[in-house]
Amino acid sequence: MFKGMLKATVFATTMALATGAFYTPAFAEVVYNRGNSADPESLDPHKTSTVYEAHILRDLFEGLVMQDKDANLIPGAAESWTVSDDGTVYTFKLRKGGVWSDGSPVTADDFVYAFRRLEDPATGAEYASMLYVVKNGEAVNTGKAKPEELGVKAVDPETFEVTLNSPTPYFLEMLTHQSSYPVNKAAIEKLGADWIKPGNLVSNGAYTLAEFVPNDHIKLVKNPKFHDAGNVKIDTVNYIPTEDRSTAIKRFEAGELDSNDDIPTEQMADLKTKFGDQLRIGPYLGTYYYSIKTDKAPWDNVELRNAISMAIDRDFIAEKVWQNSMLPGYSMVPPGIEGYSSAMAKFADMSQIDREDEAKKVLEKLGYTPEKPLKMEIRYNTSENHKNTAVAIQEQLKPLGVEVTLLNTDTKTHYSFLEQKGDYDVARAGWIADYKDPETFLGISRKASGNNYSNFNNPKFEELMDKAAAAGGNPEERMKDLSEAERVLIDDVGQIPLLYYSYKNLVSPKLHGFDENVMDIHPTRFISKD
């Protein structure tokens, strides 16, 4: 017995050594250690809300449509689709032979189930509003209609039909969002809340979930049943939460991480010299802005709002506070959306000195001088850079006769105060695009939006937004309407845009296919590693 074991061991060792000798990289398991600034809140597509989750879910699941490495729309679980002439009915032909990781086919019923689940109030989906454009979407989610009444239908197992309230040209873009991914009905019904656990989770994307240790790593392994598995180069991707940015940099430098999606911006200059072109920075669809209470005296005066906005030296803030990890912003919709031209603040062309002179004149006219200053409070949520931004603005406005006080609260307190329409003057906010369309940035200033922290209410703006929605069938006209709406919003200083976000990735030269785009999307299935 013992002898037999010894023999087996010797044999196994020899074999291992022998294979080792002939090992070529082509056979080695390719592991990609991917730094992700935070752990996901949930891997349930219907319960997610953050971009950190989006990165992971994009690898695990495949929606009707997906994005390629340049964030362009590509067919996903649906092979093709047609849109009715009036733009309200979308018919998706599902991919033939598309299967879940357990081998069962992905059917139109799965999408019916998933869409209903997202809207079902019992699910408690944060992103349920994504499908409010679907017929009865809002009614179902607010309990006024049954989930069965949602405008979705399985015509046959391979044909999925969605009926919308009105033509919505950005509907396909919206479907790239993780909240519209399918979930496996059988698994959820059998396992309940445990369906999301490693070993249980059935997914239909390029990867399946192998391990999830909170605050440590999420291990995904290649799904051999994925329709494009032949082109998937990375065998294992470990998503590693890198909450501490400084540690993340060191781990990247030591080779423990192949990429990280954020950097400590205060070290920008050093990082640039140290990492050269491994540090990739570029425009990202996000706006950093201040909400100013437009319905509260004295801020209800457009001239005053404009003077304040004009006097803020955005170049200084972008360069000195954010070390160029943000760009000066003059519009709510950041540049980078095809077919759309952002409406910039009129003073964007003036020099900073002219802007300050002009602002001073207005403030003097309104009776504010350094001796008799206007009092203004800026609220911001805890962050070193939010604080420094507010302090810079405080200093910039002082000589013009504006006495700024700062009020810092933690994030939850900050947003609950804004949401409850608390009594404030100016408050810091930010918006990252859910999908590539101006609507996502302009919608937050509509009078009925819960995110309209400035209580902006301009009939002209509302009218143009409605007009744009009605022009759904005509993309060019719609973009023009939206741009005009933004013009109203900016001229009326409904919000004070300050900066555009940038993506900030550290990418090892070993990685290929980690291509830059304004959505900062990098599906692992298109990435390879030397």
């Binding site: 996901p40 809300s49 989906a125 590693i240 540690t247 781990r251 307190t413 947003y415 949401e419």
Partner: protein
């Protein structure tokens, strides 16, 4: 003795009850809730979310539910990490925090006692001064400075240790965090030990022992140490409770998946159930370790008896 232990355990129940009650209502006083975030939710969607977690019930009912669940050993779901229950998060994180904390504590007790004794025996000489200098440095340099230095020196320059991560519990991954956790504790133990040892060496029974002609070794180890170690024991109780339940700084910097960071993160995220869970765990650890300290007292010091 057994009766004493039982009595202490029984009094722990009302203590825990008061702590749980206070914590439950205090965290609710903080403005905002688990579902306030950068992206505002419509009132309807927020209501759906709150209904899912029973947050729309009156507060007293939520409290009653919570107590009932707690009695059944159920800490409830985490609001911000809905894929896990609070119990599951602890089951994964607590053993990791305990491993690091216990290693650091043992290291601190051994090294600290040794250094403190050396200092006491060499009072006002070089040996003493170097220990004092080390102890002062150890207790004044904050962990958030020590940790990155360890990462830079041992990780990046000498490539001996990984920068961070748990690495499924690999020994090398534990060295940095344990050292960082232990250094300030070594300093405290050394200083405590030095003080109490000096005092102990001056006491009457030590003078008697010396007069009887016992060897230095015997005087110090068998007689002086016994009395000198009492302050260390009382220090160890709360220190163990704090170390074993994890450190947010060390766990964040070294990317360790323990429970130390839950305490702060959960409070900031208004993850009520997770906050309550950490409060209960820390309270339990504190109660248990204080009890152990009291028992140890009786073991070490023959003058102390519990009836």
């Amino acid at each position: 003795m057994l009766l004493y232990v039982l009595r202490r355990l029984l009094t722990a129940i009302p203590t825990l009850f008061v702590i749980v009650t206070l914590a439950f209502f205090l965290i609710r006083v903080a403005p905002g809730g688990p579902f306030n975030q950068e992206r505002g939710l419509s009132p309807e969607i927020k209501a759906n979310l709150e209904a899912q977690f029973g947050l729309n019930d009156p507060l007293w009912l939520q409290y009653a539910h919570y107590l009932n669940n707690l009695l059944h050993g159920n800490f409830g779901p985490s609001y911000n990490l809905p894929d896990f229950t609070v119990g599951e998060l602890f089951a994964k994180g607590l053993p990791i925090s305990i491993q690091l904390g216990a290693s650091a504590l043992i290291l601190a007790l051994i090294l600290g006692t040794l250094l403190g004794t050396v200092a006491a025996l060499n009072q006002n000489k070089w040996g003493d001064y170097s220990v004092i200098a080390l102890a002062t440095a150890g207790s004044t340099i904050p962990t958030f400075v020590i940790a990155p230095i360890i990462q830079l020196v041992f990780g990046l320059s000498w490539k001996l240790l990984p920068i961070g991560g748990w690495g499924d519990g690999a020994l090398l991954n534990k060295i940095g965090p344990v050292l960082t956790l232990a250094l300030p504790q070594i300093a405290i133990v050394a200083r405590l030990m030095r003080g109490s040892m000096i005092e102990s060496l001056r006491s009457h029974h030590i003078r008697t022992a010396r007069a009887l002609g016992l060897s230095d070794w015997s005087v110090v180890v068998r007689h002086a140490l016994r009395g000198a170690v009492l302050p260390i024991i009382s220090f160890t109780g709360p220190a163990a409770a704090a170390l074993l339940t994890g450190s947010i700084i060390v766990e964040t910097i070294f990317a360790i998946p323990g429970i130390g960071r839950y305490f702060v993160d959960a409070a900031l995220n208004r993850d009520y159930t997770l906050v309550m869970g950490t409060v209960v765990v820390i309270a339990l650890f504190t109660i248990v370790f204080n009890l152990i300290v009291d028992i140890m007292y009786a073991v070490v010091d023959p003058r102390v008896r519990y009836d």
